[in-house]
């Protein structure tokens, strides 16, 4: 049955009315395909290429979203008063001088550290490769704590790379597109960082709570000597993050009655919400070779068993 009628724009349009409601095959196929995609993406890594291609297609959108911020910064630099620029110049020069003095001391400590390691027959600490990146988007709503960076596989970013800002550890790269990459922040519930108390040397694992200013330490016994103000550094265990980078400061220590462990609240040091520029740490080449060799040996053992 064909019917002519005018719609609200006063157009003559005709509809083919189907007397029996029908469910197109394409709609059922689409729903089934979505369900299959969810399961495959959740349990396997087979869709990483599809995700990489899709992120390349949609990559202009985060860039467009980031543009107003860049324009704001650009306007800010254009209209800054000369006096403000002079003051900022002076302040930065003083800061560079202080950092250079600290760097000299750091070089001396590093030499001493390597000599001590050599005397104990341990491997010397290796230099990490660095990649600088800008933060394009921050997604700290709903159930996730993520940021998007403007560097991808094109720039040498790999999955698993630790991300730092000027203050401390921010998170880890979990997905790499061609031009952009996604970083899981340490405040996400799915992120766990092995840490060490700088004061006592005690090791623990800090996990996120989905709040941008709170982390929590897992499974610390009541005999622990941790106290508010303690600085937590990465311990290097698990080879996720290199050792010695600041993660957070202990904010509160609670000892609930009837529980086996104490509850420790930690405040992250890195500017998770505010950082504009970040650094991605690459693995030193020697460590990469060692890890590749370990992986190969595990594969051989799996094949034999």
């Amino acid at each position: 049955m064909i019917s002519n009628q005018k719609n609200k724009y006063n157009y003559n349009i005709s509809y083919n009315y189907i007397t029996k409601e029908s469910l197109p095959l394409s709609l059922i196929a689409g729903i089934l395909l979505s369900i299959i995609l969810i399961f495959v993406d959740a349990y396997t890594l087979k869709l990483s290429k599809l995700r990489e291609f899709a992120s390349l297609v949609v990559s202009p959108i985060p860039l467009v979203v980031n543009y107003p911020e860049r324009i704001k910064v650009w306007f800010g630099t254009i209209f800054k008063a000369k006096q403000n620029l002079d003051d900022e110049n002076q302040r930065l020069r003083k800061q560079i001088l202080l950092l250079q003095i600290q760097l000299q001391r750091w070089h001396a400590l590093q030499r001493e550290n390597n000599q001590l390691r050599a005397s104990l027959a341990s491997a010397a600490a290796q230099k990490n490769r660095l990649i600088a990146a800008d933060v394009l988007d921050v997604d700290i709503g709903r159930a996730r704590q993520l940021i998007i960076l403007n560097k991808g596989s094109h720039d040498g970013v790999t999955v698993g790379q630790p991300v730092l800002d000027a203050q401390g550890v921010m998170g880890q790269v979990i997905d790499v597109g061609f031009l952009t990459s996604t970083v899981l922040l340490i405040t996400d519930t799915k992120c766990a960082v092995p840490v060490q108390n700088a004061r006592t040397g005690e090791r623990a694992i800090v996990v996120g709570t989905n709040h941008s200013s709170e982390l929590t330490l897992l499974h610390l016994p009541k005999t622990s000597t941790i106290q508010p103000g303690d600085l937590l550094l990465t311990s290097g265990l698990g080879r996720l993050y290199p050792a010695g980078y600041p993660v957070g400061k202990v904010a509160e220590v609670l000892t609930p009655q009837g529980e086996a462990f104490i509850r420790v609240k930690v405040r992250p040091i890195a500017g998770l919400n505010t950082a504009q520029f970040v650094l991605l740490l690459g693995e030193p080449q020697q460590e990469k070779d060692i890890l590749a060799e370990i992986k190969q040996r595990y594969l051989m053992v799996d094949k034999l068993s």
Partner: protein, 162 residues
Amino acid sequence: MNGYHIKYLHLGLMVITAMILSILPLPPMLQWVRPSWILLLLLYLQSFNTGMLRVSFIFLCGLCLDVLQFCYLGEHALALLVIYLIMKNRERRVYFFSLLQQMIGVAVLSSLYHTILVLCDYFSGYNTHFLYTVIGGSIVNALVWPWICFILDKFCMTYRKN
């Protein structure tokens, strides 16, 4: 003849604008009250530009949203297609509903949309706050719906196909 009122170029512009609004940075407290722009746009197009949407187009929009919001691939596509399935063959009735009735309908569909997304979050191990996301999101979508209709009506009238 189908009721295509706007060109595909303008449809693409609307979808891109909706995606930009979907990932626009907001303060943490306002993240909970962000409308589901793509859902609202597709509901409008399905209700007032019947015959324009295709299953493949909705599926691709869902995939793009999944990549932008870093969900499992297929999550938003599933939610959007389920809403499309429910609205299919009922979209012409929207013409006869008052604005308040349309808002209630949008709230119900939004709650279903958010419920599917929250269930997918639970499945992937994330702990989403159910009440804030489902009920808050539905209320926000219902409140934004009249404005969406007003703006898109103007846009469609300006760029209609002759």
